[in-house]
């Protein structure tokens, strides 16, 4: 896929207690792309996601976000608070078990992402209801997280990740706690949020079935990219 990049990493290096987690990883993600990052346990895939999203700082290398093609933001040069603000505004996250706040309702969990950015509560809740409805959860805004199935909870997490209008979505083992049919449904919805929206999706997974849904598959081993190939997303979709 060609075109202006959305996110670019150059020569990322990260070590933990002297052990290399990333050893010079470079990659570019473009709008509309869905990228699966695969690798064995300890290969560095979650560390890569954390560096790209500004959750941890690499020891060397840089990450740039192209909000505006002419004026990229250097994520790795930002201070902690600025990186947090960037994550709230420009990145969306979906984690393995949703990690939603159990005391809040589904609607409030989604609205919270907007409220953190300063949106007024009523407006945020309306937008949240719309995002939930788009993912097949219309009328469920008032349900507590404990009252939802695993698949429904993950859909709430997807709504939360996209409601802010974030263009770069990160998903860390988003189907790890789901059965195969629910996993397929979650992946379909994740990809649906990317198609034609100018967004990009990066999925960290160890499951090749999940990776097959994506348009591109990057494979890591010992902190190094060993393969960067086209995925089989067209087959499943």
């Amino acid at each position: 896929m060609s075109g202006a990049p959305l996110l670019a990493a150059e020569n990322l290096v990260k070590t933990y207690n002297g052990a290399p987690a990333l050893s010079g990883v470079s990659l570019t993600v473009r709008p509309g792309e869905s990228v699966a990052v695969m690798g064995a346990s300890g290969s560095g895939k979650t560390t890569l996601l954390h560096c790209l999203a500004g959750i941890v700082q690499p020891d060397a290398g840089r990450v740039r976000l192209f909000r505006d093609a002419a004026l990229p933001v250097e994520v790795t040069a930002l201070k902690d608070d600025a990186r947090s603000a960037l994550r709230r505004r420009d990145f969306g996250f979906v984690f393995q078990q949703g990690l939603l706040i159990p005391e809040l309702t589904a609607g409030e969990n989604v609205a919270l992402a907007l409220m953190l950015g300063g949106t007024e509560r009523r407006q945020a809740e309306q937008a949240a209801a719309g995002a939930l409805a788009a993912l097949g959860l219309a009328g469920m805004e008032g349900r507590r997280i404990g009252e939802l199935s695993g698949g429904q909870a993950q859909r709430v997490a997807i709504a939360r990740a996209q409601v802010t209008g974030a263009r770069m979505l990160f998903a860390d083992e988003p189907t790890g706690a789901l059965d195969s049919s629910t996993s397929a449904e979650v992946m379909r919805l994740l990809l649906q949020t990317v198609q034609g929206s100018g967004r990009a999706l990066m999925v960290v997974t160890h499951d090749s079935e999940v990776a097959r849904w994506c348009g591109r598959v990057i494979t890591l081993a010992d902190g190094v990219v060993v393969a960067d190939t086209a995925g089989a997303s067209g087959v499943r979709r």
């Binding site: 933990y16 052990a19 987690a21 690798g39 346990s41 300890g42 290969s43 560095g44 895939k45 979650t46 560390t47 954390h50 999203a53 959750i55 941890v56 608070d81 990186r83 947090s84 603000a85 960037l86 994550r87 709230r88 505004r89 990145f91 996250f93 984690f95 078990q97 990690l99 706040i101 159990p102 005391e103 809040l104 409030e108 919270l112 992402a113 409220m115 953190l116 007024e120 509560r121 507590r144 404990g146 083992e173 960290v204 160890h206």
Partner: protein, 457 residues
């Protein structure tokens, strides 16, 4: 022929506590425990023991007077001690929860290896007991350190002085009581924690508080009014009715408290305009009974402070001879000590509960941090979830007796404004103490957020 190498390991008959004791030692050897989470309960028990010993020493010093005044002072001091027992029990339960949380991987691994739920429970109770023992011994040191200052406190116009020193047996007994209460309340507290081979989770059953609690409270009030208005056969019956009315007053607070906390949280939820306000209100609404339980001891302390403080202030203002010369001032001194001690215990207990909650939800908090939620928002939400009930309970438990006994409290404010201002100031200091206790748990949250950034995949 069997050799040592080939023979199967045989179970050795031992006392029922041998296995839990060995496991508890294995898990708690020096160098194996997380420092903050291990120190917190012990430090709290140290504070509790220091406070108990100080109040007890003050109370027993009255025995040395050997007159009827001493008996009255002893009775009042005994009452103050009873007020401090409830927060102590709450603190024990909180410490047990934290103990289970910080050792979750160890405990669930024990279950995976086949340890029974009872063994795991015993290990945790033993841990809580050991922490309480370590804390209580440090508390004895605290009592000794405080001695030069407490000995300056005046009762009946003279400093406590050497009468403050407790007999070593009384000190040992206090340590034993603290350890026993910690163990018992930890066993009770553990009922809310599920230790399975897959992990440790706090049992979170959404709680509902029904309005019928208020109906029961109204019935109790009606019963008290009836009893108080009935002609009493004797002074003993009258005294019993007065004590009964006091107990009933507290029962009313306990019945209506959770309902009141829930109503207030619902109101805050409707008005919440910020993420932290929304979160704090929802956390309280999720478990209003637990939110109340954590701060319920304050209701007794505030209730007593207003009633006894107003009475004492008025007595202070009346010119008198003999005992009454000092009684008002001395009761006021006792009330202030009890208020500070009560709030300190609630501060410890709330702080420990917060630490347990933060550990309980480590993964959730990490995910919120990764999503860009400012730490200040998480902090404000967890602090607000405790401070809202604290403020509510303090205000209601102060206002209700102030209004019910308006002739008494009104006169006290009118004639002894300085004493009453001092009393109000001590309540405000108490609330600030709880707030400070919660703020002190910030490093636990920071630690949890920072441990999540290591390598995983």
């Amino acid at each position: 022929m069997s050799t040592a190498a080939s023979a199967p390991t045989r179970a050795v008959h031992a006392s029922p506590l041998t296995v839990p004791l060995r496991i508890a030692w294995l898990l708690n050897r020096p160098g194996t425990t997380g420092r903050t989470a291990a120190l917190l309960p012990a430090a709290s028990f140290a504070v509790v023991t220091t406070l108990l010993l100080t109040v007890l020493a003050g109370a027993l010093s009255f025995l040395q007077w050997g007159d009827r005044d001493g008996d009255l002072y002893l009775l009042l001091a005994g009452f103050a001690l009873i007020l401090l027992v409830l927060p102590l029990i709450t603190l024990g339960g909180s410490a047990a929860r934290l103990s289970a949380r910080r050792r979750d991987e160890h405990l669930s691994t024990l279950r995976l290896l086949g340890a029974s739920a009872a063994t795991v429970r015993q290990v945790t109770v033993l841990e809580a007991g050991a922490q309480a023992l370590a804390g209580a011994l440090a508390g004895v040191a605290g009592y000794l350190v405080l001695a030069p200052f407490v000995q300056l406190i005046h009762f009946r116009g003279a400093p406590l002085g050497a009468a403050y020193w407790l007999h070593p047996a009384a000190g040992l007994l206090t340590v034993a009581v603290v350890v026993a209460l910690a163990a018992v309340s930890s066993a009770v507290g553990l009922r809310r924690v599920a230790v399975s081979p897959l992990g440790v989770r706090t049992r979170a059953v959404p709680q509902r508080v029904r309005g019928r609690r208020v109906a029961a409270a109204v019935l109790i009030i009606a019963g008290c009014v009836f009893a108080l208005m009935s002609p009493s056969a004797s002074a003993v019956v009258a005294l019993a009715v007065v004590f009964g009315a006091f107990a009933a007053g507290l029962a009313v607070l306990n019945l209506a408290g959770p309902w009141l906390v829930a109503v207030s949280a619902r109101r805050r939820l409707r008005r919440a305009a910020t993420p932290q306000a929304l979160l704090a209100a929802r956390i309280v609404l999720d478990a209003p009974k637990a939110a109340w339980r954590q701060v319920s001891a304050l209701s007794m302390v505030c209730f007593t402070a207003v009633v006894a403080g107003s009475g004492a202030a008025l007595v202070q203002g009346v010119p008198s001879e003999g005992l009454q010369d000092f009684l008002g001032q001395d009761i006021m001194t006792g009330v202030l000590i009890t208020v500070v001690a009560g709030f300190l215990m609630v501060a410890c207990s709330a702080g420990i509960n917060q630490a347990a909650t933060v550990l309980d939800r480590a993964e959730l908090y990490r995910s919120l941090d990764r999503m860009g939620m400012p730490r200040g928002v998480i902090d404000a939400a967890r602090i607000g979830a405790v401070m809202q009930p604290v403020l509510l309970v303090s205000i209601v438990s102060t206002a209700v007796p102030a209004l019910l006994l308006f002739p008494l409290t009104g006169a006290a404010v009118l004639f002894e404004p300085l004493s009453m201002a001092f009393l109000a100031g001590s309540l405000a200091v108490g609330v600030a103490l709880v707030r400070a206790g919660l703020a002190a748990m910030g490093p636990v949250l920071t630690g949890v957020l920072e441990t999540g950034s290591g390598p995983r995949g």
